[in-house]
Structure formats: C-alpha cells, structure tokens
C-alpha cells in the first residue's frame, strides 16, 4: 500500500545539462537517472535543505526542483503527479524506431 500521499515526501530532480536527461540527486550529492537512488526528504524542512543541496550541485544540470513522491512499504518511490511519472518512466506509448518502415 502506498503511504504518505500528503506530498511531504520529496526528491530533487532536474534535467542534465549536456543532454536533458531526467536526473535525481542522490545521498552522495551526485545526479543519477535512477529514481530509486534519489535522496528522500521526509518533511518540508528536509525538502528545503534537499533543494538547497540540489542548487549547490547544479553545475551540470538545469533548474533543480522538488518532486512530490510516495513510498511503498517496500521502499519503492513513485512520483505523485502524472507529469513526474512520465518524466521518470518515459513515453507512455511506443515511439517509432529509427529504422522502422512502418509503425508497429
């Protein structure tokens, strides 16, 4: 069961400067494409500190911001909003492949 739907749980995200890839700040202050490695802020004050850290580490990323997430009993983190779910998981349909002659 998902817990904490209040929006207090947050991770810091941004787009990587060099290629725009969606990244998250981890506990070591590194930007990672893996949401499961993101540092988790558990309340608003931790969120503010996390955002400060993200901004301090923003040399290689663009416009860090906080993303509200939920955490399951097994520790799985998932964004609350559809926009952030799509940012985390990618397109919700299969894009046509480079060498595709037809759309499959």
């Amino acid at each position: 069961m998902a817990k904490n739907l209040s929006g207090d749980l947050q991770v810091a995200s941004a787009n990587r400067l060099i290629d725009g890839l969606v990244v998250y700040l981890d506990d070591a202050g590194q930007w990672t494409p893996r949401l499961d490695r993101a540092a988790l802020a558990r309340d608003k004050s931790e969120g503010a500190i996390l955002l400060e850290r993200a901004r301090a580490e923003s040399f290689t990323v663009v416009d860090p911001f906080l993303v509200a997430v939920t955490e399951d009993d097994d520790g799985t983190i998932e964004p609350l909003s559809l926009r952030e779910k799509i940012r985390a998981a990618g397109l919700t349909f299969d894009a046509i492949a480079s060498e595709a002659v037809r759309y499959a």
Partner: protein, 557 residues
Amino acid sequence: MPDTHFYRYDDYDRALVGERVEQFRDQVRRRIAGELTEEQFKPLRLTNGLYLQLHAYMLRIAIPYGTLSSRQLRKLAEIARRYDRGYGHFTTRQNLQLNWIKLEDAPDALAMLADVDMHAMQTSGNVIRNVTADHFAGAAIDEIEDPRIWCEIVRQWSTLHPEFSFLPRKFKIAITGSPNDRAAVRVHDVGLRLWKNEQGETGFEVIVGGGLGRTPLIGKTLREFLPRDELLAYLEATLRVYNRYGRRDNIYKARIKILVHEIGVEKMREEVEAEYAATRSSALKLAPATIEAIARQFAPPPLRPKRTRVPEVEALKLENRAFALWLKSNVSPHRVAGHAIVTASLKPAGAPPGDASAVQMEGVADIADAYSQGEVRVSHEQNLVFPHVAIESLPEVYRALERLGFAEANVGKITDIIACPGLDYCALANARSIPVAQNISTHFASLARQHDIGDLKIKISGCINACGHHHVGHIGILGVDKNGVELYQISLGGDVDFGKTALGTILGPAVEADKVVEAVDALVATYLEARADGERFVDTYRRIGARPFKERVYGNP
C-alpha cells in the same frame, strides 16, 4: 535530383545562417564550461529553436512555408538518425521537431541544416515565426498565385528584423493563394489571402488578430485589398502598431488578437493606416524586379499535360478497394492535366500523428525524386504532400507509400487526427494527446467505416495553448488536469474553411481518458442517424445543434 524550383540561399542568406551556427556553437561551449548561466543561455538556445522539454532537448526546425526538397528531407533523416532517436514529429506549423537532441550535438545538427539551406531560427521567442502556407501551393487547381513567393519575401524581411526581435509575444503569419483556404489564415496573428479584384489585379486581403490558445479569436479584415508591392510596408506598419501598443504586462494578453479585441478593428485600422501612410513609399515598397527575382525561384516545374484517364489506374481501382478509397481521399486535382497532388498520410491506424522514422523520411524523399519533381510539402495537418505526380504514376506511388506505411486512405477522415505532442513530451502540457489520438485511430481503423462517416476533423491539444488546434476541430478535444487526473473537454463545430471559420463550442463536462473513444463513438452515431444527403459531420451539427449530441454522450438530464 537538383533543386530547380525551390528558393536557394544567396550568399547573404548563407553567411547569415553560417555565422549564426558558429555563434551558437560558442554559446553552447560557454554554457557547458559554466561561463554562462542557464538564465543567460536560455534565450540564446530558444532563438535557435532549442527547447528543454520533459525528457530531453527538442530542436524545432523551420520548414519555410512547408516546402522541402528531397535533398533537405534526406538531411533531416540523417540528422534524426545521427543526433536523435531516428524519428521526427511534423507539426501544425509545418515544422519538424526532433525530441531527443543533446545540447552538445545541437550546433553540429544546425550546421548540417545550414548545408541544405535550413535553420531553426525564429522557431521560438517573441518574434515573427516561420511563415506557413497552403501545402498545395504552386500545384492547386484553384490557386490564383503561388503564396510561397510572398512567404519567402516575408521570411527575408522578418529574419532577424531588429525592430521586431522583442515583440510583446510571438507572431504567426500564414498566406494562402487560393479561395479554398488550406492555411487557416483566419486563426493567425496575420493571415494573408491573395485574390483578384474587379480590375483583375491581384492583391492581399489582410486579416489580423486571429489565433487559438487561451483566448481563441477569429481574425478580422484589416484591409480588403492591398496591392502586392505594398505588402512589406503594410506588415511593417501593422507590426509597429502592435509593438507599440501590445501589452507586455501580462503574457496571456500580449498577442495581437487581444490588442485588436480591446481597441477594436476600426481603431487598429486607423493606427495601421496612419503608420502605413508614412512608410508605404519607403524602401519597403517592393520593386517589380525584386518580386520577379523571387518568383523565378518558384517557377513551376516543367510538367507537360498528360492523359487524365489511365487504364492501369482504372483497373487497379476496380481490383483494390483500398486504392480506390485512397484516390478519393488522398489525391487532389492538379493545375496541369494528367497530374495530381498526393497526400501521404502520417496517420496510419494507431500511430502517433505526424511522426516519421528516418527510413520513412528517406523513403518519402525517394518517392519525391521518382514521381514528384523532387519536392515534398509538410501540411499543417501533419501529413506530407507530393505536389506534382502524374496520374499514370499513381499506382506506383501508392505501392511505394504502402511499403512505408503512409498509404492510409484517411486524409480528411476521422483518423486523420491533428495532435500536439502533449504530456508525453511537452513541458507545458497538462494531459497526454498522442495516446488519445492512437485510441481513436485504432477504434475507427476500418477504412470502409471512415469513408462512410466522411470528412470529419478531430483535433487534440494537451493544454490550453492549443498547438493541436482543438478550437477549430469539427470535434475538438482539450486535455486538462483536474486534481492530478487527465480529463478531456470535447467541443463541436469548429472549422477553418474560409468563409465558415468557426470556433467550437464546449459540449459538456470533461470526460475521463478511457471514455474519450466512447464519447467520439456516440457523437459519430448521432451524426450518422441524423445526417441528410451530402452533409458532413460539421454540417449536421450546424443544422441540428448540440443537444442531440449532448444527450447521446451524457444521457438525458
């Protein structure tokens, strides 16, 4: 095939675009090195068409007036393959968007574009954007004059125009040279319609203040008849008035349509005419030699009249029902006997509207070389067009398109859906568009059923900015976000046909994503039961009104 009937960059164009690429290369280098902040860099990348979207940078490439040579299309495919994920999205402004460009690769992509006389300038920002035109220009049977000549003149005037580089808001111009408007001129900031007056002179009707987005408005006629050689002087006057009086305090009220709406078209006309009186005899008045020099670049290809009734075509029509339907929906009359205009549908059943892989782009370029004078057009309805095909070649073109998956006989039909990229890509969107289009397209995939339903335009936007033109869809669908849930607002009765341009009316409460197909099905069923002979969906809607449609979708109150 050589580019014989396209505008070719002169030394000035080439130097300007080349310098711009090198400037941007240096700007990117400085940004990556940390010498520029994002705040400093963002306007620089945007003026070069580079947006940062949800997952990646997106490069919006200008395709002036939607005209591409096969050489240019092959280059777009090469860029897509080398620097993107091998596909691109043709847009409602006749542009191409590449959705996965890396910042470090963007200058090289722009350099490759410059090699084929293309760029991405002014595809963003508060400037005059890529000028759009009738995608049948230079080929249409109903055409008075090729609008691309005038698009090119406007392009040259507006590119990096110093006075109009910081307008209150973006500015979109469309030009049509036919009475049957295929360029949606009444829903642009300025729409220009070429027509002949009683004296037999060709000039422009100047329409101003149209637009979709948050405040949809239909443009009003500012000038009934403008002599052709005074076009730039009049546009300069119009832009100058907008630049002076357009609002800069509120982004939602900054478009020229709001200015025209607030002060009224009479006052707008008075202001523009006063400015025009001062500029009409200036250097902006176009010399006949200047017009002629541009017009020569758009000289029609040397097509000789051919037989119009071809036994092979007639035979295939009888044996292949899909081909017969394709002839009806995807093939249009050409001005030269024995020729036709062919629309390749980028809307095969269940596909993301407007997307093409690199291989498909190259395949289209091959078809253009073999059968269409090396020329391709991008339509604002997100399809590709072969403007000059001999009727005798139609079977080969059809088979070649079939191999590419672009032979769907659905142009103008219910699955020929316009859809913006929506929340799957776009940083501004509130809801997804493409999956909704895919669901509708899959549900109505039967060609026989589509042709029975007839002409029906569905347009889908993922937010109020209306890149999917939902306001002017016969059925418009707008995605909204309500407490984190995607809902879709349906409107009926929109239209961009000239003389019938109308904005759709909202039918009722927004429906959930998984109810959209059901709702469209109910609308179609209502139409099929009520239609009179020869009526399109939108005609029936106009005749019987919204109520029967509403009752079918929502039930009786």
